[in-house]
Symmetry: C3
Subunit: 148 residues, 3 copies
């Protein structure tokens, strides 16, 4: 089976340099075979439905997921991921914006492109009034690693 | 022990036809004995505290939970559910609306009616500015199935 | 190893009397070695960025975490907690408020003070339009207990 790094390279994707958490929490927390991944926000700032289009939001969600993968790689061999279990996506939304799922698809599509069947996950896409640093998108993950 | 279907029938409840996810995610994801259930939104549209009353929100939460059960049934025998572990409920809220718990009670009450003690769950009821499709309520679940 | 109660006392902290849930849900739900803890809101009311400062929000997050620990103690020996896996923090935010992480630090700092390394957790800090009872902060937890 091709490794995840080869898969990322074949897709023309590169993982960014991860920014470590700046407070009393951790990027990932392993609990048995589960791994809880702290939320990250997009570099893209702004509100969907006013400052940003759905297509820009989709790109922001993809960018954020790449950043999450970079964080995860600090602690876990990406090839050891057995399945992506759950993704929660928060979209900073103008009061009239209701296309949160289409925004979060940017992250879901990437997960399936990179991890194949293992990447098919349960998810929640919801709209919030504001996000840290005024970001457009925030994502968190729960995943399962193979027993060692 | 009476099965869950008999229980639903005795309560006069019928599960709707589930709408499958329309993107790169799945309705339920099993991870060991845990099952992560993707969020679903209510058919009921509108904002609590302006368009809709708390009683209408309660009914929307109940309707949404029936839909979640229909989704779960696609993948899992409902009688195999050992416990409902966690429910998260997002309520589309006008800025002055603070009765999110009373809205989400519509789903909590149904779970306990249908599953009895197994249905007593931890939960979060929170208020959000906007939801997919302008829905009133959004619910997600984590549950545990009996080992096979 | 010093017990958690001695640690709380040494820090000058006292757990409040827990208010039990008032509806069809439970304060904590154990699922294998995981424990899902229902969300609690702060006694502090108001919106960050208009009614309340970030420092007041930090104090509200700390107060809420003490209340969560009191709830957990009703069901679980605090010394049996092997790790704090995940915290989700919802901050009631004015549309211009983007310091949700600094608010939720009030809870993260407390967890690490009280539980040491075991208290270092994955987390999400997000901004919402409204919370139950008009509270400033809402927190929920997932933790792991030692096998018995």
């Amino acid at each position: 089976m091709t490794g995840i790094f080869e898969r990322l390279a074949a897709l023309g994707l590169e993982l960014p340099s991860p920014r470590p958490p700046v407070a009393n929490y951790v990027g990932t927390k392993r609990s048995g075979e589960l791994v809880f991944v702290s939320a990250r926000v997009s570099h893209e700032r702004g509100e969907l439905g006013s400052d940003l289009t759905t297509a820009q939001g989709y790109a922001a969600a993809k960018e954020t997921m790449l950043h999450l993968l970079a964080i995860i790689r600090e602690d876990i061999d990406l090839d050891q991921i057995a399945s992506i279990d759950k993704m929660n996506g928060f979209v900073r939304s103008a009061s009239s914006f209701t296309e949160q799922p289409k925004v979060i698809d940017g992250a879901s599509d990437l997960l399936v492109e990179v991890f194949g069947e293992r990447g098919r996950h349960a998810r929640t896409a919801t709209g919030v009034a504001q996000l840290p640093y005024g970001a457009a998108v925030q994502l968190e993950l729960i995943l399962r690693v193979s027993p060692e």
